[in-house]
């Protein structure tokens, strides 16, 4: 396979192609047996790399004895500094497992949004933003390393629709999402 097709295949699997490019590439895929086999193999490898990353993260977690020592040290430190503690932001249990949450736009908004914002997912290498119109057709797909995406001037948003931000992990796989968030503007 030449480099251009390889790049297109990888961009396609990363969700980096816009809807038209994605459609064109799928037609190419369905017309070419070897490209399809490459796509399947690539998906299989990504899955295995992702599994390896999960297992390594799990194995890196310290054992019980280390946790007990850390807990004891943390308790001492806590009691030593508790009286000088500044007002802190609340920390919720299980925060590390939270999927990103939509911040804006959500529901009916006063102005045409030019930026889509969501909360951080600690496991994210990047995020994929997708915007859909009312019929459910995808009007934009873009990736962002940050928890927001600013629309470029050329894009005309549908007056109502929905959007979704998906966490992309270190091997390029979408793992969690905000779910579809409706928006509407006058």
């Amino acid at each position: 396979m030449n480099d251009d097709r390889e790049d297109s295949l990888q961009q396609y699997l990363d969700g980096h192609l816009d809807p038209d490019q994605c459609r064109d590439f799928e037609q190419e895929l369905l017309a070419d047996e070897s490209l399809m086999a490459d796509a399947y193999d690539e998906i299989t490898i990504r899955e295995a790399l992702s599994e390896r990353a999960r297992v390594r993260r799990k194995r890196r977690r310290p054992g019980t004895a280390v946790w007990v020592s850390l807990a004891a040290a943390a308790s001492l430190a806590f009691f030593a500094v508790i009286q000088f503690r500044p007002e802190a932001d609340p920390v919720y249990r299980g925060e590390a497992d939270l999927a990103p949450t939509a911040v804006s736009p959500v529901g009916r908004v006063a102005e045409i949004p030019d930026r889509f914002v969501w909360t951080r997912d600690p496991g994210a290498a990047s995020y994929r933003l997708e915007i859909f119109d009312q019929e459910g057709s995808r009007r934009l797909v873009a990736t962002s390393p940050d928890t927001f995406y600013t629309l470029e001037g050329g894009l005309v948003l549908p007056p109502a629709g929905s959007w979704r931000a998906t966490t992309i992990d270190s091997v390029g796989i979408g793992v969690r999402s905000t779910g579809l968030v409706p928006f509407e503007f006058p």
Binding site: M1, D3, E6, D7, Q10, Y12, L13, D14, G15, H16, L17, C22, E26, L29, L30, A31, E33, M36, A37, D38, A39, Y40, D41, E42, I43, T44, I45, E47, A48, L49, E51, R52, A53, V55, R56, R57, G123, A124, A125, S126, R128, E130, V141, P145, R164, T166, D169, S170, V171, G174, S177
Partner: protein, 167 residues
């Protein structure tokens, strides 16, 4: 519209059959593809979570083939049946977790021996480092890093094919 969908599914079925038949005997391949298509038709776009449609369908097929191998391995264990390994193709999906991880480790090590940049990039990505940090450390912009990663993944794919785990 319905006709276009049918023709799309028929193309997909043909490709899936080709892929499955390189991993399991042809009669089993037909059953597995049928199962995968059933999931695809029943669950449709709702389950794809924004992934491109064909990629999602291939992921479904991979899962169906993986489940088939797991079930077969369990059945053989329960019946105390052993199968001569040389008579079987051994695709990545058929290996148990430890074997699969070992195969991937060997592939990455071989890749790093031939191209230490590739070894380093993929290792750091697999360790969960964000792409933008890797790009910054390597003095690359994100596009250049992704492009290099694409080439590296392709090399890894070639290595795994030579090992016979991607038939």
């Amino acid at each position: 519209m319905e006709r276009a969908r049918e023709s799309w599914l028929e193309d997909l079925r043909r490709h899936m059959l080709g892929i499955a038949a390189r991993r399991v005997p042809v009669d089993e391949a037909e059953d597995l593809v049928q199962k995968a298509l059933q999931v695809i038709v029943e669950r449709g776009d709702a389950a794809s979570d924004g992934r491109p449609p064909v990629a999602w369908c291939l992921q479904v097929l991979r899962n169906v083939i993986g489940n088939h191998y797991r079930r077969t391995a369990t059945r053989n264990r329960l019946l105390d049946r052993s199968v001569a390994p040389e008579t079987l193709s051994r695709p990545l999906e058929s290996l148990d977790t430890e074997q699969r991880l070992r195969t991937i480790e060997e592939g990455l090590a071989e890749l790093a021996a031939g191209d230490d940049n590739c070894g380093r990039y993929l290792q750091r990505m697999a360790d969960g480092e964000p792409a933008r940090e890797i790009a910054r450390d390597e003095g690359l912009d994100s596009n250049a890093l992704y492009q290099r990663l694409y080439r590296c993944r392709r090399k890894l794919r070639d290595i795994l094919r030579q090992k016979g785990v991607l038939p």
